[in-house]
């Protein structure tokens, strides 16, 4: 640029500078936006990772120690909900109802799995809508971003203990049937059913209950499928002991049958009592049913005593996390 032509900037240079300024401005703005998006994304990923990992720890591990739900004081405990039997996760991702109940009573335990600035809400929705929703940790999320984790799980409602399980299929095989004490008194009338010639009969099983359980549990008889009064063959049952046999048979009903009074009457106040359940069934294999004697904690509502609660049930575990 020559001073004597009176020019400081050429028009090209001015245009170029203008273009560069615009481009740099747009780039800077874009980088700013991208930078914000990256921060937001990494923050989201971080919360999602925390949510996923927390759900994994709850669902896949039994906690530390494995039987933490039996402890009275919850110091030095890591919560986990996986049901472990004999050291193995027997059915794969089955949650223990006892652990869920313990976590429900002590919701502060979940803080051990979360960063200090986060909180959560945990609910279990059974796929069978007739079963109640389990509200494990009920907190309301704050306004703002909430990360949700939804996992399909099985939960084992082990508040129900099975003491006896009579399956008529078993008696079709020679050698595995139980020789009943009644067969000594009435050998002709207390025989196993004959499915080949469609003759009805009795299926029996002995079982024992500890005195401690007799005092602390309610006992019911359940059938699968549920027996009603509208069937051709009136199936019946007898509960007695090898020492105190009785012929008083009673019919099944469509509701669980409470048998506390019979058990108390037969009990001899020993540390462990032996009982025998006899079930009269039809000779038609299609009308056969399984019979269970179950024990539940005393005072459990009869509505909770149901076959759905025996064995693992599918459900959705939904956990919501947010920053406090």
């Amino acid at each position: 640029m020559r001073d004597n032509n009176g020019q400081i900037f050429t028009i090209d240079a001015l245009l170029a500078l203008l273009l560069i300024t615009i481009l740099i401005g747009v780039s800077a703005n874009t980088m700013g936006i991208v930078g914000d998006k990256i921060l937001e994304y990494s923050s989201e990923q971080s919360i999602q990772r925390i949510a996923g990992d927390t759900a994994d720890v709850l669902i896949k591990t039994p906690g530390e120690p494995e039987n933490w739900e039996n402890y009275k004081y919850f110091t030095n405990i890591i919560p986990g909900l996986a049901d472990i039997e004999n050291g193995t996760n027997k059915f794969g991702n089955v949650l223990s109802m006892r652990k869920i109940s313990s976590l429900k009573k002590n919701p502060e335990l979940i803080k051990l799995l979360l960063p200090k600035n986060m909180d959560c809400n945990l609910m279990i929705y059974p796929t069978n809508t007739s079963l109640p929703v389990i509200d494990v940790i009920s907190k309301t999320p704050l306004k703002g971003d909430v990360t949700v984790v939804n996992r399909t799980v099985l939960y084992d409602y082990k508040l129900i203990d099975i003491y006896s399980n009579i399956k008529p299929d078993n008696i079709r095989i020679k050698g595995s049937e139980y020789v009943c004490t009644h067969s000594y008194i009435n050998p002709s009338s207390h025989k196993p059913p004959d499915f080949k010639s469609r003759k009805s009969g009795w299926v029996c099983a002995a079982f024992n209950i500890d005195l401690e359980d007799i005092k602390s549990k309610d006992f019911y008889i359940l059938t699968d499928p549920v027996r009603g009064d509208n069937t051709d063959f009136h199936a019946s049952w007898i509960l007695d002991t090898p020492n105190r046999m009785t012929n008083n048979s009673q019919n099944f009903t469509s509701n669980p049958i409470l048998i506390n009074s019979i058990i108390s009457e037969l009990s001899e106040n020993k540390n462990r009592e032996i009982f025998v359940l006899h079930v009269s069934i039809s000779g038609d294999i299609k009308q056969c049913f399984n019979t269970y004697i179950v024990g539940v904690p005393m005072g459990t509502s009869v509505q909770d005593v149901r076959l759905d609660n025996i064995g693992p049930q599918p459900a959705f575990l939904i956990m919501k996390l947010w920053i406090k």
Binding site: M31, K37, Y178, T181, R272, G311
Partner: protein
């Protein structure tokens, strides 16, 4: 400067820099697939490991059943049942793991470390290591499982269903008596014919065991505590236990793994059952070898079967007679010999 284009060239270069930076940022944001892929592979390995672990008890029961059946059919004791069963389980697990390799490409191995008697005589303890490898992810853990030798666990609706193919039999009577001939299995009971009497050759009162019988399948007695057997009119509970062919926990009786080796007693906590003399026998005999299997099958070189006195148990239709010493009388709630 302007004549040589330095100003415009330099400014144009400045334009390129931000665009390169923008490009680098875009490429970084897109490149996230790798971590998700790692999570999926890791989950897959974990689930396959769980599957292998859940198959171990099923395969163990199959192997136990096959081993017992083979021993029963040839009547020969095993040299080392624990090693043989461990190897057999290992072979079957290798076949299972090969299937996983073929189907999912996951390299999984299950190494059976040991098979031994558990604290519960009706269980077998198995220790194994499961190793899963997929690309650069490795997962391994040591698993310890107690596996029931009984056919059903009535407390668990989802346990293996009871049927003839799952019940495990007692091999000991066949190892001891098969060579004498005449043993048959009928209605889930072993009928010894003359074989047991021949086995007891020379023992006082052994003639009572002509046509004796004992249970074929191992079934756990529900009449617990065992003293309840004797606490009943005419020992009805004892009679019912005998009719059902139940086995009882015993410090002296051998566990299943030792029974496969032909041992009636062992250092492990085992089980015992009654061997029932035939009703056709000599009613004058009051003292005879004790009717407990580990007593009758004990090593005759060291311990002759010790005697017991007659115990009659009956229901309203049938009766049976067994011989028990004071030790077993106390165990089953039967009054002592006076």
């Amino acid at each position: 400067m302007e004549n040589k284009g330095y100003v415009i060239g330099g400014l144009a270069f400045l334009l390129v820099l931000p665009s390169i930076l923008l490009l680098m940022v875009l490429v970084d944001m897109v490149n996230l697939d790798e971590s998700v892929d790692t999570i999926i592979k890791s989950d897959n390995s974990f689930y396959i490991s769980g599957d292998v672990e859940r198959n171990i008890p099923i395969i163990t029961r199959q192997v136990l059943k096959e081993t017992v059946d083979n021993t029963i059919s040839n009547g020969m004791p095993l040299t080392n049942s624990r090693i043989l069963i461990k190897n057999a389980i290992g072979h079957k697990m290798d076949d299972l793991c090969a299937n996983y390799q073929n189907n999912s490409g996951v390299n999984v191995r299950c190494i059976i470390n040991s098979v031994d008697s558990a604290l519960d005589p009706f269980e077998v303890e198995l220790n194994s290591t499961i190793v899963v490898m997929k690309d650069n992810i490795t997962y391994n853990r040591i698993v310890n499982q107690n596996i029931s030798i009984l056919c059903t666990d009535h407390r668990n609706k989802f346990s293996i269903n009871s049927n003839d193919s799952n019940e495990i039999s007692d091999p000991l009577p066949f190892i001891k008596c098969k060579k004498f001939g005449g043993m048959i299995i009928k209605n889930a009971r072993i009928s010894y014919g003359s074989s047991l009497k021949k086995y007891l050759n020379g023992v006082n009162g052994s003639e009572i065991y002509e046509n004796a019988s004992s249970p074929y399948y191992i079934k756990k007695c529900p009449y617990d505590p065992y003293t309840s057997h004797g606490n009943s009119t005419k020992f009805k509970t004892l009679k019912n236990c005998i009719d059902n062919g139940y086995y009882h926990e015993s410090n002296d009786g051998a566990c299943l793994l030792c029974r496969l080796e032909g041992r009636a007693t062992c250092n492990h906590y085992g089980f015992e059952t009654f061997i029932i003399p035939s009703n056709e026998g000599n009613k004058q005999i009051i003292i005879a070898p004790c009717s407990i299997d580990h007593v009758i099958f004990s090593n005759k070189n060291f311990n002759k079967p010790y005697p017991g006195e007659s115990v009659q148990s009956s229901n309203d239709n049938t009766s049976c007679e067994i011989f028990l010493d004071n030790g077993h009388r106390a165990k089953y709630g039967v009054p002592d010999i006076k």
